[in-house]
Symmetry: C2
Subunit: 460 residues, 2 copies
């Protein structure tokens, strides 16, 4: 894309020369929307200079493209007046997203810069819960009336569409502003100009409520392949729209949340590279401590078997191997089930089917590891005396308990997310470390019980 | 959305009465594109009946909405002739996705049903690597010439746009079919009819190559907020487009791949609920065996300390607690770093910054767990004799080694993904179980070394 590189080089040159007139002339033939992604890659200092010299439309479009850190820096470099003009002109959904990332006191200062009208809009959007559709919606849509002709609708769009976020979908509303239908713009383009808009309606549309979770919006977009969905209030009045470009961000954010939980910490809710160290430690410590307290039960369980360990120290050697294999199998199962649940591949009531699958898979995996474990000890014993003359008993204990523990881990790992979901909690909480900790404790009991059965009268 | 429920009920009734005429009349006012998502939810038997009675456009739109399993079932229920008509009429990108899921012999039979022209298209798309842009692209776009007027372009769109996948973006090409620019349809709608198309161009566009990975497409879409991106060959000729609705699926598929790897198994590449048990066991067993072989080193490491364990059995009691805490800390760090890498939050060359952060976080977390561990043993010892008269030595050993092991786990967990990436491997391979296994082995050495230093001359 050589064209893009040139724009950045050209602009940097013009900015360095502080040639406002030449800069304006250079920018003139471009649409702000198309320049924004290129400009957004420039340094914050250049951006601030550019914002002082260029049109408000360009500043707004570019600001919307920036991520939160450069946005904050940039706003500090502008005069109070420039900042106010920018904030007032921002599309409401981008402004909500920006304000939402600020500390409360700074956000309040920003709100105070808005005109009364814009402040009302901003406060209304911010009043919706975090991660709700209301926070993402924009009020910049085009609505037409069904009794208009296609020609009238197109004229209206031409007149009012300039600053609207999307023209790919247009909405038909009645005199009270209630949503009648959504109309893809292709239908206007493909139909004769003198037909009434009402003939383009099919009465088939999906709507969101402003209090819906963003995950629901994502699911509807995936299902309906739309580029924008309408948001209506309880009286079916059209109050905003959500556009597909925000959905790619939602998909990424939701995946990040799930992945971080699966890794055994709270979701950070901020980028790893910029989150304050103290906040990150707090989010990680809470789960780490819970897991640690749970894992303490292993010390308790082990102390029950202290006598056995003293008699046959060789048993202690395989404790980490045996219990971690159960944890690994459990972590696999939990992760697969959590992702399948998130993708809606099965429902809670299918738990029995999942359990049957994991019973079969867990048994197979357990036998594979059990055989390897048995062979490892058997072969080793031919060359070394580490495991003593009773090595067949040791090998059998390790092999058999692996079958039991891997099976048990697979069952626990697969059922725990379902149980959490049943209790109304987030299944992703049953992270790999969480499942591993649970399986460690029960795994010890399985291991020493098998050892007791096999070694009674000989080693124990 | 009451309208939707009615359609399904109405259609089910009409199908039950096998009233073809009434059915056609009922469907007539609807656009196939809008009906498809509703119809796609019906039973396969109803779908087959509907496909026999309804228009080809509706059948095609509905088929594209179905997932692979109902698609396969449905095609089997149609006559050879109906199936051929359907396959020939499918949009090329949806057809590629469908053929790709079939066993090779079935896919070949389907290819044989296509007309020579369509077969050529299908074979060309299938020749691109899996997960490449070529596999996802569609040839159904509208291209206009810069020398036309806006009115001519709109007339052309009206005439040729009906069966095109998207009209939200239109492409300007030269006489040789080389891409000049992409034009959002809003610009046609907002501009005077007698302006030439060339005045709508800004020369600013992003392009994909058919051999690009789908992840690159996803990144470009996220960056440029487009609803469609053009695909060009080496000679800059426009050969297809990729649309944003496919990107939501790509985002979900990429997250699934990462999550499954993080859980310590290979990516399944198929839904958990439908993948054959043997294939799932194979994908899980390979990693489980690798981890098991690695974890065997713990038995080796433990056997080096067999003498110490025999002298102080109390040491064995805390082995699972201590090493699993290191594994948990490592799994947190690995997951956070992997996700941050996937989101492009930092680059490989920032490894030093990441390491410094993890050094600070790991120390803090280690101290927290170390203090809890120390207190646990100290308090317990007031009420029980489990840890003997030398409990302060035991408590110090556990507390101190926790600091070291949690710090070590955090460093390993954060650096391993970076090392993998540096080696050109997928960072997500350093899953929670993988990191835990590595930390287990080194954790044992840290634990017993600390024990040796503290207990030498007393317990050891």
């Amino acid at each position: 894309m050589p064209v893009q590189a040139n724009v950045k080089v050209d602009l940097a040159g013009l900015l360095a020369r502080k040639d406002g007139v030449a800069l304006k002339k250079y920018l003139e033939p471009w649409l702000p929307m198309d320049l924004a992604p290129l400009i957004a890659e420039m340094h914050v200092e250049e951006l601030a200079a550019l914002f002082r010299l260029s049109s408000r439309e360009l500043a707004v479009a570019t600001f919307s493209y920036l991520s939160i850190e450069p946005q904050k820096k940039l706003l500090k470099m502008l005069t109070q007046e420039q900042a106010a003009a920018l904030l007032n002109a921002l599309p409401p959904d981008d402004r909500t997203a920006f304000l939402n990332e600020l500390p409360l006191d700074v956000a309040m200062q920003m709100l105070a810069m808005l005109t009364p009208d814009e402040r009302q809009v901003a406060q209304a959007l911010l009043a919706y819960p975090e991660h709700s559709v209301g926070r993402m919606m924009t009020l910049d849509y085009v609505a037409v009336r069904p009794e208009w002709s296609v020609r009238e609708a197109l004229d209206y769009i031409r007149e009012h569409g300039y600053d609207r976020e999307t023209l790919n979908v247009v909405f038909a509303v009645d005199a009270e502003g209630r949503l009648i239908d959504d109309i893809r713009v292709r239908r206007f383009l493909l139909s004769a100009l003198d037909r009434p808009v009402s003939e383009l309606l099919d009465g088939n549309y999906a709507t969101l409520s402003p209090t819906d979770d963003r995950e629901k919006a994502l699911q509807l977009f995936q299902k309906f392949d739309r580029v924008a969905l309408p948001v209506t209030d309880d009286a079916r009045k059209l109050i905003g729209i959500v556009t597909v470009d925000d959905m790619l961000d939602v998909a990424a954010a939701e995946a990040t949340e799930d992945i971080q939980k699966l890794g055994g910490s709270e979701a950070l809710d901020e980028p790893y590279t910029t989150i304050a160290l103290s906040r990150m430690v707090k989010k990680r410590a809470s789960w780490l401590v819970v897991l640690f307290l749970g894992e303490m039960l292993t010390a308790t369980a082990m102390s029950f078997f202290e006598g056995e360990i003293a008699k046959a120290v060789v048993l202690a050697l395989f404790v980490p191997l045996v219990i971690s294999s159960g944890g690994n199998a459990g972590s696999q199962a939990a992760t697969l089930v959590i992702r399948a649940l998130a993708l809606g591949e099965f429902k809670l009531r299918d738990w029995w089917r999942v359990m049957r699958r994991e019973f079969a898979a867990g048994t197979a995996l357990g036998v594979i590891l059990g055989v390897i474990g048995f062979l490892r000890i058997a072969i080793w014993s031919q060359f070394s005396g580490t495991y003593g003359p009773h090595w067949p008993l040791v090998a059998s204990t390790v092999g058999l308990s692996l079958v039991g523990i891997v099976l048990w881990g697979s069952l626990m790992g697969s059922m725990l997310p379902l149980l959490l979901k049943r209790l109304g909690l987030d299944p992703a909480t049953s992270s790999a470390p969480f499942v591993a900790t649970l399986v460690d404790v029960t795994g010890l009991i399985i291991y020493f019980s098998v050892a007791y059965l096999i070694m009674r009268g000989t080693l124990l």
